[in-house]
């Protein structure tokens, strides 16, 4: 007999519970590092095409009269050649040009800048839209799963996907990574991937239930455990292939998708884990209650 995933569920619930609590503590203590997509201001990203000291960049901005501290400047990119500077104010085209000129003067190999400025109204609207996108996507998915399967599968799957989304958000809060619009897209992808992965397993459980009368909790545990192992090769192979693609994009892709691909990487691992170790055991616990009522 293979490893008893379902019978050892309390350990997995404990592990995920601990991660979730740790995530809540991190979020309460530090909050999220919201990018210019959500907080009004300006984000200047420049590929200096050489190694540099953060203080050099800091001095350029100070020289131009901006109120910046060391915290506002981060080094990015796999080769650490990119500087990201956060300003609390929105700037004009003229100011943008002056910044570009000043950077070019000190770093002649500079490959170009990307400047994003967002005013408070737009930032507010973006956060509102992102929130609705997450909400409606979840509601839509629950309804679909409830129709095609049963509501217990739907809700168990949603708990697992919220778990995944939360873990990604917590990791970003803990590592102080910037939360921007692509990050929201990444979380939504994870929401889609997580439920996608879970459905394949639920589908097998549903099929096995058809062929077998389950009367006791122990029988249910055995059936679900069997279903999990039946789909295990697929679960592992699929997540491996997606991780291959994502990891390559993370390591060698453009700097601007670095956070995006990292969020996906965390979410993919969490999604594969939660489909097996969280979603299915939750369903077993829930379903077993109705078993007892029947007998």
């Amino acid at each position: 007999m293979k490893f008893e995933i379902v019978r050892n569920r309390k350990w997995f619930f404990l592990l995920s519970g601990l991660i979730t609590v740790a995530g809540i503590i991190v979020m309460l203590l530090f909050g999220l590092n919201l990018g210019t997509d959500f907080v009004a201001g300006t984000r200047v990203q420049v590929d200096l095409n050489q190694t540099f000291q953060e203080s050099q960049v800091l001095n350029i901005f100070k020289g131009l009269g901006y109120k910046v501290s060391a915290n506002d400047i981060t080094t990015a990119g796999t080769d650490q050649h990119t500087a990201v500077i956060r300003l609390r104010e929105t700037i004009s085209t003229d100011q943008e040009n002056k910044i570009d000129d000043a950077l070019k003067k000190q770093f002649p190999h500079e490959k170009g800048t990307q400047v994003d400025t967002v005013s408070p109204i737009v930032a507010k609207e973006l956060s509102k839209n992102a929130f609705y996108a997450v909400l409606f996507a979840s509601v839509g998915i629950v309804i679909y799963v409830a129709i095609r399967f049963e509501y217990r599968f739907g809700v168990s799957g949603i708990i697992a996907l919220l778990h995944d989304a939360f873990i990604v958000i917590s990791v970003f809060a803990l590592l102080r990574l910037e939360v921007d619009i692509p990050f929201i897209a990444a979380v939504l992808t994870i929401v889609g991937y997580s439920i996608n992965d879970t459905i394949v397993i639920f589908d097998r459980i549903r099929e096995n239930l058809k062929n077998q009368k389950v009367k006791t909790l122990s029988e249910l545990e055995t059936l679900v455990n069997h279903s999990l192992w039946q789909t295990m090769t697929r679960s592992i192979n699929t997540v491996l292939t997606v991780i291959f693609a994502d990891a390559m994009l993370f390591f060698f892709g453009g700097t601007s998708i670095h956070n995006f691909t990292f969020a996906l990487l965390v979410g993919l691992i969490s999604g594969a884990y939660s489909s097996i170790f969280i979603a299915s055991p939750i369903w077993v616990v829930w379903r077993s209650r109705s078993l007892k009522k029947q007998s």
């Binding site: 929105t90 996507a137 679909y144 692509p182 939504l188 889609g192 991937y193 693609a245 994009l249």
Partner: protein, 410 residues
Amino acid sequence: MVRWSRFIAFLLIVAIIFGVTGATTKKIWSKIPLGLDLRGGFDILYQIQPTKGQTVNSDAQKATIAALDERLAAMNYTDPVIQAEGTDRVRVQLAGVFDQKAVKSALVAEAKLEFRAPDDKTVLLTGKDLVNNAKYETDPQTNAPVVAVEFKDPKKFADITQKYLQQPIGIWLNDKLLSKPTVQTVIANGKATITGMSSPQEAIKLAQLLNAGALPFPLKQLSSTTVGPSLGESALHSTLVAGLIGIALIFLFMIVMYRIPGLIADCALVAYMFLILATFAGMHLTLTLPGLAALVLGVGMAVDANIITYERIKDELRNGKSILSASISGSRRALRTILDSNVTTLIAGIVMYYYGTGAIKSFAEALIAGIVVSLITAVFLSRLMLMLFMRSNLIKNIKWIFSGKGVQTK
């Protein structure tokens, strides 16, 4: 018995996939509009400001869009994206290599042209009185750059030249004196030239600004994204290389894990990538960095459909079925699972498309296209190829089909 007709049909499909992909991919790729994060450019959101006596409504929005469009066309930017957003906003997106500084300032620049009386204060005519056909010319006598203009109401101009005969009329651009010619004769045909430009470039620019007209409303910049052209180019290059390495790894993985069916899945993946590029080119969807990432992830989802199918077939083989009947029943059972799992992701994609803007929207587009195309290629095409191959009876040794323990046939 080997059925060669089926095997030839199988080979034909493979040949078509690689032939079409190899022959046209380059051309299709060049037709896909690249987002500004991939080739530089800017994206600016303007808010239309109300002016004295005028409120901002949808007409004002349309007028502003038309004016901006004319302005960019006058500067020879033919494929700008100018969209209305909300009730009082306009978004301008321009990708490609160009002088961003000049275009940005020209977009909001006012071209307030005035013809003033000799007292330099009384405004006789403005740029609004001009026909939109101002053009750059050179003065036949002095070779100096001039701008030829024509007035909408020739009589009005004739009256003015009559009134100020032998007097100087000032031509002012944005409150700066350009030239102050003395009226020599009464001009009846409404045609005049503006002198005082120091270079042909300056004259061309003035002519363009005059033709584009003054902006009906002042614009306030709400947000902007500017990507330097070489930065965009290097992002595109590194992301493409990364994506290709990732896809190559997936190809290899499938062959190692599933042998000949893995190869078939890889052929279907090539068809997937070709079709997805064709979809982007055909629908003029703009490819952005997150969109490119979604496409590569779409490859993962397409692979998943094949993995689900192949694992199912292996299950059926373990139950003692023959290769052929295991392939048939395994594919059928897998289909429902694939559909259910893809529809859920599709729901997320549609919601993102509906509520998203910019990067999210283009990501959602790529995701939706990826799901639909992967259903066509990774489910139906891949299945067709697998069935043709299995029915051809070419391979009887199970070792060539799938790897892993427990798979054996009777």
